[in-house]
Structures are given as structure tokens and as C-alpha cells.
């Protein structure tokens, strides 16, 4: 791997290597001295065009635990179009010898653009781009799910896949980079993914995804999922007529106390409730659900550092088991006409 841009083009082998490496990194986090010298002298830039304190500090902690030098570069999205361009920013970082750029950007595809442009040699890590992907979030979710799945099976986590697991993702899939990254990664790891949400918040074209789609949350819960992942709802979506009111949304697609009790009634003792945070308590998830023993919210945060350590480590230390050295030679990244006629009609 040269970059980590999406989970859609992440092979199962690379995904498992990331998760297994993250297990080793997690062990470091349990030591008294939570630091490895692996990336000493390397520079990681956190390039955030969008506010996200949670993701930024998670990457910062990950880089520091690997002894990398960290530069935080906060740039507001509006300055991109009006002031310095992404190209100039990238070339500035290149001139400062950045080894890795962790980029959060409101425009879908900005990390891919950065990686393919030739403006910069650094490894690019997508820390969330628009409504496209958020691969490290999906990796930490998969890591959390895998630990849970291995624990109930009595197996060690490392090497385990998600085969046999049923994961339900609920809410605003249309605008969710977390949902997209999870759909690809969890299915790559063998899980079965179900989606539930209002039809207005499921993308046109979702029919081609490797998922089953439900418009009714209770119908989806009747499929007895092993995990329910609630997506954050942005209340302003209501203004664009995606749904009539937050109360109606909450009743139909919120994980409320009634649905929490339903899991018990159905005997789904091992079903966990996930949320990428930050949560809207009382909207897409009730406080009782968020704080219940089923909730993995805090474990997800904790695991985020381990997963991001693994990503930075594998990208920057030259992974000897790399199986896709040529990922950046893909036709869609360098020269769309080099090998494949895809996108052109013969």
C-alpha cells in the first residue's frame, strides 16, 4: 500500500494485515510506556480542511506513539476555493518533506486527487472526504466487531474474519462516508451487511451494493443482526425535505429504548450497538442505548488509535508483505487510458 484512500479498493489480505497490526499496536497501548520508535524522524502532517477534533487527535496520538513528528495544519474549506489551492498546499507540504499526509476534506475525492496528482510524494491517508469514504473509521469499526466476534467464539482476534456476522447500518447512508467505507470493508471481511433508513437517505444506485436494504428498522432488526451501527443524523437534512421532522425520524429510524428492549426480548444477547460519534442522543440513539453494556462507542474510540497506528506504520515503514505494490498504477489513478477501456464505450 502506498496510500489509504478507500476501503473499496482494499484487498482482504491488506485489510486483515491492517487489523492484525492494529492488534499489536493495541498491545503497545497497554504498556506503561506507550511508544514505539518505528517512525522516528518521519513527519506526519494532519491536513484538516474540516473541523474534526476527534479524528485529528486520534491520528495525532497514533503518530506520536510511533515517534513520528506531527504537524497539524488546519485549513478551512472556504479558503480552498478562494485562497490557496489544494495543489499549492500539497506542494508546500512536499517542500517541507512530509512523509505522510492525513487529510480530512469536505470534497469527495480530494485525497484521491492528492495521491494521483503528482503534486506530492507523501503517503496519503484519507481521514474522511466529503460523503465518499472514511476508511480508518471503518477499520476501527471492523476491529471492534472482530474482537467482539472472536471473543464470543472464544478465538483470538488476530487472523479472524467477520464471516457469519450480520451487521445492520442505520440512518443517513446517502451522506455518510462512514457507511460507505463500512459496506465495502465489512463485506470484504466476510460479513453480511444490512442497510436501513428512509428511502430519501439511501443513494440512488444502492441496489448495486452488496447489501440488503430495508426501509423499516424493525423489519431489519427482525433479521437478528449481530451489530447495529447507528449513523449520525445531521438535523439540517430536514430542511432539504429528506424527512418531515426529527421526531418522525427518531420514531421510525432511531434506536430508542423500545428497540433496546426488543433486543433482549429477541434473545439477541450478543448484539452490540455502535456509533461513530459524535452522537445525537435522543435523535438517532437513546441515552439508554448509548450507555448500555451493548454499546461499543468508547471501545471504538480507543481502537481508533490502534488502527491509525497500524495504517501509518504499514504505509511508512515499507510493508514487506505488500501484495499490491502497483495500486498507484491503476488506470483510474494515473492514466485512464493506459490499460482499460472502462469508462469508454467500445
Amino acid at each position: 500500500m502506498k496510500h489509504l484512500l478507500s476501503t473499496q479498493d482494499l484487498s482482504a489480505r491488506n485489510a486483515l494485515r491492517l487489523l492484525d497490526t492494529a492488534e499489536e499496536m493495541a498491545a503497545v497501548g497497554e504498556r506503561e510506556i506507550k511508544k514505539l520508535p518505528a517512525l522516528r524522524g518521519r513527519t506526519v502532517v494532519n491536513l484538516f480542511f474540516e473541523d474534526s477534533t476527534r479524528t485529528r487527535i486520534s491520528f495525532e496520538a497514533a503518530a506520536k506513539r510511533l515517534s513520528a513528528d506531527v504537524i497539524n495544519f488546519a485549513a478551512k474549506g472556504s479558503s480552498v476555493s478562494k485562497g490557496e489551492s489544494l495543489k499549492d498546499t500539497a506542494q508546500t507540504l512536499e517542500a517541507m518533506s512530509a512523509d505522510a499526509v492525513v487529510i480530512r476534506h469536505p470534497a469527495s475525492g480530494a485525497p484521491a486527487r492528492l495521491a494521483a496528482s503528482g503534486w506530492i510524494d507523501a503517503a496519503v491517508v484519507n481521514a474522511g472526504d466529503g460523503t465518499h469514504e472514511h476508511p480508518t473509521q471503518a477499520l476501527l469499526d471492523a476491529f471492534t466487531l472482530r474482537r467482539h466476534w472472536a471473543r464470543i467464539a472464544g478465538n483470538p482476534s488476530a487472523g479472524t474474519t467477520l464471516v457469519g456476522m450480520k451487521v445492520l447500518i442505520v440512518g443517513d447512508v446517502l451522506h455518510s462516508r462512514v457507511a460507505r467505507s463500512n459496506v465495502w470493508l465489512l463485506t470484504t471481511l466476510g460479513a453480511e451487511v444490512l442497510l436501513a433508513g428512509p428511502p430519501t437517505l439511501l443513494p440512488v444506485g444502492v441496489g448495486s451494493w452488496p447489501c440488503t436494504v430495508f426501509y423499516n428498522l424493525d423489519d431489519a432488526l427482525a433479521q437478528r443482526p449481530d451489530a447495529v451501527m447507528m449513523l449520525r443524523l445531521q438535523a439540517e437534512r430536514m430542511n432539504a425535505a429528506f424527512f418531515p421532522s426529527t421526531r418522525e425520524y427518531s420514531r421510525r429510524w432511531g434506536f430508542d429504548d423500545g428497540r433496546l428492549a426488543l433486543l433482549d426480548t429477541m434473545g439477541l444477547d450478543d448484539t452490540v450497538i455502535m456509533h461513530p460519534g459524535p452522537m445525537n442522543r435522543g435523535l438517532e440513539i437513546s441515552s439508554a442505548a448509548a450507555d448500555s453494556p451493548r454499546s461499543t462507542v468508547l471501545a471504538q474510540v480507543r481502537n481508533g488509535v490502534s488502527v491509525r497506528m497500524a495504517a501509518l506504520y504499514l504505509l511508512l515503514s515499507g510493508d514487506p508483505q505488500d501484495d499490491d505494490d502497483h495500486s498507484d498504477d491503476r488506470p483510474h489513478q494515473d492514466d485512464p487510458f493506459a490499460t482499460t477501456p472502462e469508462g469508454r464505450t467500445p
Binding site: Q8, V80, S81, S85, L86, K87, H105, P106, A107, S108, G109, A110, A112, R113, A116, S117, D129, G130, T131, H132, E133, R177, R180, P203, V204, G205, V206, S208, W209, H332, Q333, D335, P336, F337, A338, E342, G343, R344, T345
Partner: protein, 464 residues
């Protein structure tokens, strides 16, 4: 005033004997170009040629009427960093065009007689092709009140095509009035069919690819619903409607239905919509960002079939050059548009001729004859016959070339065909009897079209 015709202009004094050329791909013959017209053909050509006639050996070349583009963005006035009338018309000549229609979305907008005359004059002064300004339908393309369509029609530019291209005339009352009003001077409204509310923030075709990429979808229905409304309006008021850059299979069905009902509608497709699909957007490379967006393979096949069967009447390039900084950025920030003048012939040959969907006569119909008729250009798109104006091109259909935007005459480097090998090269372009392109290279512009005093006076007026 009447449109300028060849009779107003000075004529190239030289004679050109084109030997062994295949008109419309037919039997090889000779053509003699003299005095701005095709003066002789067959054995008469050589025997009628003067001793100092320039001979062009054209074995294996196809003669076609000069291409006529109904849809070109020349960017001047206002964005001369992107393109000028001079650079855009050079690109057009190299691409095999003898007439282009300059879209109205310049700055200032071509919504007055003054601006359209300026563009028209710049075209005459350049002399590479005939430049016909398109007039805006509404003042400032704002969609609120009609521009002075009559004044533009009666100006020296003799505007016949009116369009707010880039923006849809979405107010149904305004569209109805525009359709009705231009009947007074045989004008046509060229509609950019894009329902604005359905395309707020839209970035790419809405479908399987947009779902994966997380780019805001641009539904086909936004185009189709406007076309459906407009053909019904055109029928109701008995007017002529032209639909710009049709991009979806559904639009084709609506236009087919409208034509079957006898509605006076014509439609256009771009070369890029005949070849490229939204799969290319997976790269997030903004060179593939265009309005209307690249659609699916099914749409591409429907567009080709429609162009072959006449449901779609013409190819229009929608040549839209942009400075590189408008494309070297994130997808969402990037400008929409692609260059097309210098690749149009090759892309249409590749997608329509080499697939057997069109012969060269059909190619001439969709790239020259019908666009000239829609634009009311009497001396363009004419038969390759004795006595006709010598607006013609010589094409080597066997040539193969690889698209390199850095070597193009347009200022725009935003060609989506970059790196692609395409068939067909323009070897020569004759613009009213004068070769603007010879041996595949720019020759000289056609001289002496404009009375010097008029240019001076106009210069003084717009240089203040």
C-alpha cells in the same frame, strides 16, 4: 440587415486543384477551387485549372463539407485567459470546421447587439472560420427577462440562434415567450435542459457510480423533464426548438416522440457523450467534469443510435476551454467543461463511422448540413458540387493519432481524450475557397473580409 455572404468579401485569388479526392467517401475525382467556390469537378477540374494552380494530391482522402458547430465557447470577451476568438477559431479550422457558433455566456454576456457584433467582428478579423455569435435569451443569463433578441437578430451579426447555454431557461412562461418571439425573424431557442432544483450542487450523473463516489447526483430526469416541457411548449406555440447536448436515453425517447408528433424540434449530442461514461469519474479527475455530466454506457449507445436514425440531428462540440487552475483542484471545486473542436471529427469517426452507424454522407449530415440549416447559414453545409461555396475539408480517414492536449491550438488543455488513440485527421480546411489548414497544419487565415474603416471604427468604440 442581411447576413454577410461570400459576395461581400474579398476572395482568395489563388486556385487549388484537389486531385483524387473522394467526395463523401465516394468515387475519387478532382475538384477545382477558385474564386471562393467549387469551380469544376471531374476531368474539367484539371483542364480548367490555371498553370499556377496549387495542386493538392488527395489520394485516399475524403472530401466533406466544412463542419459547422452550433455549440462553441470562445470565452471572449471576458475570459481571454481561457480562450480567444482567435485561438478558438484556429482550433476550429484545425478540427475541420468552417463555421462555429460562439455561445453567449461571455463576460459581458452576449445579450446585446453590441456584444454580438464585437464577437462577430473578432471572428471576421481572425479569418480562420466563420464565427456566428449566439445571443442570450435572457438579460445576463439571469432567466428573468428577455434580452433584446430582435436587436441581435438585426445587428451585423444576424443572430439566429439564441441560448442561455450553461443555464436553463427554466421559467416556463419566459421559455414560451422566447419560443414565440423569435419566430418573427426565423430564430431558434437552443435550450440547455437542466431543471435547476433537481440539480442543486450536482456533480455527476446520479446512479451506481455517484452512489459509490459520494458525489451529489445529477439525475437524468432533470434533463428529461425540461425537454418534455419544452417540446410541448414548442408544439403549443408552433415554434422551432433546439435541444443542446442531449445526454440521456430518456431524452432520446422524448425527442423521438416529439418528432413523431410533428413538433419542430432538433437535438444535438456532443462527441464526449458519444464515447465517455461516468465510470471515468472514479478517478475524481476533473477533466471528466462536464455539464451535462457523462452518463452510462446504455445512454451512450442510445445516443449513437439516435444520431444514426436522425432522432438526434447534429453533433455539437460544447467546446469549453478552461485555464488549468480551474481543473487542477478538487472535483467539487473544478469548472465544468471539456475542449472538443480538435477531436470532434475523430471521435465521431470512431464512434459513428467505424461502427457502421453512419457513412460519410451521414457524417456530413450531422456535422455540417443540418447544423448549417438550424443556424440558417445558407452558404455552409452545402453539397460538394460545382458552383457551391468552397467550404470543405479533406480528411484522411486512415490516419491514427494520439491526443496530446499540450499541442493543441486551443488554449484549453482540458481534453478528456488525452492519451487516447483516435482515427481520422483533417489534412486541409477550405474556408470560402481559402485553405486555412494545409497538410494538417494551420496555413493562413482568410484575408480581406472586413472593410478597414469598419474595424477601425469598431476598435475605437470598444477600446475606450
Amino acid at each position: 440587415m442581411s447576413p454577410d455572404t461570400t459576395t461581400d468579401r474579398a476572395v482568395d485569388p489563388a486556385q487549388y486543384l484537389i486531385r483524387g479526392v473522394s467526395p463523401l467517401g465516394g468515387e475519387a475525382t478532382d475538384l477545382l477551387v477558385r474564386g471562393g467556390v467549387i469551380a469544376a469537378s471531374g476531368p474539367d477540374a484539371a483542364s480548367g485549372a490555371a498553370a499556377d494552380a496549387v495542386t493538392i494530391e488527395a489520394d485516399g482522402l475524403v472530401a466533406l463539407p466544412g463542419m459547422v458547430d452550433l455549440h462553441t465557447h470562445l470565452r471572449e470577451p471576458g475570459r481571454e485567459d481561457a480562450e480567444t476568438v482567435e485561438t478558438g477559431s484556429r482550433a476550429a479550422a484545425l478540427g475541420g470546421f468552417t463555421a462555429i457558433h460562439a455561445m453567449a455566456n461571455s463576460s459581458p454576456v452576449a445579450d446585446t447587439a453590441g456584444v454580438v457584433e464585437q464577437v462577430y467582428r473578432l471572428g471576421l478579423a481572425s479569418g480562420w472560420v466563420e464565427v456566428r455569435p449566439v445571443g442570450a435569451v435572457t438579460v445576463g443569463l439571469a432567466g428573468e427577462r428577455l434580452a433584446e433578441l430582435g436587436a441581435m437578430a438585426e445587428s451585423r451579426a444576424s443572430v439566429r440562434v439564441f441560448s442561455d447555454d450553461g443555464i436553463c431557461v427554466h421559467d416556463p412562461v419566459l421559455m414560451r415567450r422566447a419560443l414565440e418571439y423569435v419566430k418573427a425573424f426565423d430564430g431558434v431557442i437552443a435550450q440547455h435542459a437542466q431543471e435547476p432544483r433537481l440539480t442543486e450542487g450536482a456533480q455527476m450523473n446520479e446512479g451506481e457510480v455517484s452512489a459509490v463516489l459520494g458525489l451529489t447526483g445529477w439525475p437524468a430526469v432533470a434533463e428529461e423533464s425540461i425537454i418534455a416541457r419544452d417540446v410541448l411548449l414548442a408544439q403549443h406555440v408552433g415554434s422551432r426548438l433546439h435541444v443542446c447536448h442531449v445526454s440521456t436515453a430518456g431524452s432520446v425517447e422524448i425527442i423521438r416522440w416529439a418528432k413523431a408528433r410533428g413538433i419542430d424540434v432538433t437535438a444535438e449530442v456532443t462527441p464526449h457523450h458519444l464515447l465517455l461514461t461516468d465510470e471515468l469519474v472514479r478517478s475524481y479527475d476533473p477533466v471528466y467534469k462536464v455539464n451535462p455530466p457523462l452518463r452510462t454506457s446504455d445512454d451512450v449507445h442510445a445516443l449513437r443510435a439516435a444520431l444514426a436514425d436522425g432522432t438526434i440531428d447534429v453533433v455539437g462540440t460544447d467546446h469549453a476551454p478552461h485555464p488549468s487552475e480551474h481543473k487542477e483542484c478538487e472535483w467539487a471545486q473544478a469548472a465544468m467543461g471539456m475542449t472538443g473542436l480538435e477531436t470532434a471529427l475523430s471521435v465521431v469517426q470512431h464512434t459513428m463511422v467505424e461502427t457502421g452507424l453512419l457513412d460519410w454522407a451521414g457524417f456530413a449530415r450531422v456535422t455540417s448540413v443540418t447544423p448549417a440549416r438550424i443556424g440558417r447559414l445558407d452558404h455552409q453545409g452545402r453539397p460538394l458540387a460545382v458552383g457551391e461555396p468552397a467550404n470543405l475539408i479533406l480528411v484522411d480517414p486512415a490516419a491514427r493519432w494520439t491526443v496530446d492536449p499540450t499541442t493543441m491550438a486551443t488554449k484549453g488543455r482540458n481534453s478528456p481524450f488525452r492519451g487516447l488513440e483516435l482515427p481520422g485527421r483533417v489534412r486541409a480546411t477550405f474556408f470560402e475557397g481559402h485553405p486555412t489548414v494545409l497538410d494538417g497544419h494551420l496555413s493562413t487565415p482568410r484575408r480581406g473580409q472586413v472593410p478597414a474603416t469598419a474595424v477601425d471604427g469598431e476598435d475605437a468604440a470598444w477600446n475606450i
